[in-house]
Symmetry: none
Subunit: 309 residues, 2 copies
Amino acid sequence: MKEIFASGRGPGEPGILPPAPAALAAKVRTLAPSMTRSMQRVAEAVADDPAGCAALTVTGLAELTGTSEATVVRTARLLGYPGYRDLRLALAGLAAQQQSGRAPAITTDIAVDDPIADVVAKLAYDEQQTLADTAAGLDTVQLGAAVAALAAARRTDVYGVGASGLVAQDLTQKLLRIGLMAHAHSDPHLAVTNAVQLRAGDVAIAITHSGTTGDVIEPLRVAFDHGATTVAVTGRPDSPVTQYADHVLTTSTARESELRPAAMSSRTSQLLVVDCLFVGVAQRTYESAAPALSASYEALAHRHRSVAR
Amino acid sequence: MKEIFASGRGPGEPGILPPAPAALAAKVRTLAPSMTRSMQRVAEAVADDPAGCAALTVTGLAELTGTSEATVVRTARLLGYPGYRDLRLALAGLAAQQQSGRAPAITTDIAVDDPIADVVAKLAYDEQQTLADTAAGLDTVQLGAAVAALAAARRTDVYGVGASGLVAQDLTQKLLRIGLMAHAHSDPHLAVTNAVQLRAGDVAIAITHSGTTGDVIEPLRVAFDHGATTVAVTGRPDSPVTQYADHVLTTSTARESELRPAAMSSRTSQLLVVDCLFVGVAQRTYESAAPALSASYEALAHRHRSVAR
DNA sequence: CACCGAGCCGAAAATATCTTTCATGGTGTG
DNA sequence: CACACCATGAAAGATATTTTCGGCTCGGTG
């Protein structure tokens, strides 16, 4: 009797996932919201001090976090490992990695009185971190499946509102460039209206960081019900949107702050995922994609003035 | 017989030596002569394939080497660990280390037949590189000036078409969130029409990677002529658009390829610049920005379904 | 050539560690 | 206020690791 979330058709974790190598901190952040209090304590301890925790036995870690062995094991499971033993191994690996590599995980937040140069450095660093986390946490099996579906799709609809709407448009622009039929919808009504047209073989993609945006879930559900292949790009792999997603692509969740709204790093993460989708599709349809790309490039040439130089 | 040269100094524990971190292969060689035959077999296996052995239990490793558990433990002891458990942990660390060390071999371009995992790694790496380049090349004086102008502006117009249009919208969305009057124009005609309305104290921002996009240059010129403060975000600081820009913010230009259009990395770069602008402005207008941010957050709350957990 | 001791070696017992089960208590809901 | 649900930890159960112990080989010696 497993106690992992039931989820009828939801992909959740695909059959055999290789336990996360180093994306642990990111995974903790991604999964933390879906954890119970005690499990969060354990996860936090683990993310805080991998090296320290790697030295502890289940009992030790349970005591340290003021919980029980059972909870520790449960947390390890949630993080994707078969048991605590394996989590511990991964922890050791992580510790060694950040020991050898540059470990200056400067987590300083952006302050109101930071000089502008610091703002630039911190933002760049944070976004780099987000990219690394996203890449590490991205399930290539799911990604591959999504790419295959896209490459074969008769038509693709992408849903996203707010900041995610821009990402949706970005993906659409790219897909159009390589000759695919893609459309981005930010109007919920039109999105649903169009979703009804989808059928098996078509693809619908929902982009939402929280995974709870009704305006985006609704059209995906409709598409799902009509038999389209559905993909969710979200930071919360256990959120409602994944109910209707055949493939879930998880974006990373960075800590946010007052001066750094969540939208900022989630957008970076989403764009990376979208780029991966695009390149993946471009690879698979290279024969037609390559000429389409250069054609669109040519078409724009005359809208550029000649450069001074 | 303690180790002679390895880990000689450092803040090592006195007396008891801290288990070798990574110099395991060397240690094996050093100690091999003093080992018995079966122990040598174990040591060899361990040095040969740390990752593989880390996945094995005592029994597993014993079987693999055709020896017994006791021998495995004895070998671990000889190598300086309290027992096999700790050797295994070190092994996992070692594996992770040489795993990550192998990573920077991704300088190559994305090929048509790259496996999807490589695509992810390469894209992430490239975008990280782009961010670093952008941050390094960004002129903080120009940035500061642009921020000051934005913070004081009565109204801000942002121009961008194509991929840059999304960046323009991104900036606009953010500025609106902190209570500034901002508008993104991707329609060249409307952009010019609106640019006429600008006057001293207002700000106009043009976003174009090539710096030669007529549809974006034109409205900036109009704004410039009407006395607005103008900013250009471009990858070509010598391009036509800068003629009409009071402040030029340079984005980085990464190499592109068939499968990775220029739009991809220029977008990353532009977004970082835009984020810097936003945070800078938010800092300067903190008094009004902070409440505006939380207000916009509140306003959206009801559009999200409650999360599962 | 037979005997003897030293120490390598592995089977199995003993222990530590990890995993599972199950009863309990808290929490939110009708 | 009763109810169902679920998080939680204690303890039983299963594995993995460590230790013990006796057989065995090998080299030397009478």
